[in-house]
Amino acid sequence: MLPQQKEALLTMMTAAVAVVLFFFAQSRFSEYLAIAALSILGFLIVIVWIFRKVARVRRDSMDERDIVIRYQSGIIAFSAFATFFMLTCLWLIFRFHDRQFIPILSVIHLMFFGWIFLYFTWGTATLVLYRRGG
């Protein structure tokens, strides 16, 4: 397995752990959920960044196929993220239209799960593209 595939797998696993941590924080520290969500996202980003450093996942160590797959998975993930973000915003608008304000918990959910969705789709797209050949 290439380091890039390991990176994608680790990203998805860390994202799954982050979701578990988020629900734990929501049930125990709901008043500090915004801080908890940001901390968990920070943890997720740092873990993936450390892995990239350790496994030497660098652009100059990739060949042309790796770079093509990286661009493709990035485009797929960002398109999916934008779609998720837009649809969730639409849903929030319709749901809270009468009240004219959106509860902060919904905004935290949008932020947190938007980022998690981005990581999941990026990881999945990377693994699928490597399996398909690029």
């Binding site: 290439l2 060949d63 042309e64 196929r65 790796d66 490597y130 398909r132 050949g133 690029g134």
Partner: protein, 71 residues
């Protein structure tokens, strides 16, 4: 524009070149072995630069390595 499918003769050329391994070819053209595997399986289309480098390793023209099957 005419549609077509690319095929290649990398595997045959490797065997004709004293059974060159995928690893060796990968090293000589500057890619990973997985890329050579994907190329041989027809799952990945190389850049023009990589196609030329592969042809140079086997000392043949690019058209001898990659063919476009017109439909």
């Amino acid at each position: 524009m005419a549609a077509g499918r690319f095929t290649n003769t990398i595997r045959r050329l490797r065997f004709d070149s004293q059974e060159m391994t995928q690893e060796e070819l990968a090293k000589r053209v500057g890619v990973t072995r997985q890329t050579i595997i994907a190329l041989e399986a027809g799952k990945y289309l190389p850049s023009l630069g990589l196609a030329v480098r592969i042809a140079r390793v086997f000392k043949v023209a690019v058209e001898k390595v990659f063919q476009l099957e017109e439909r």
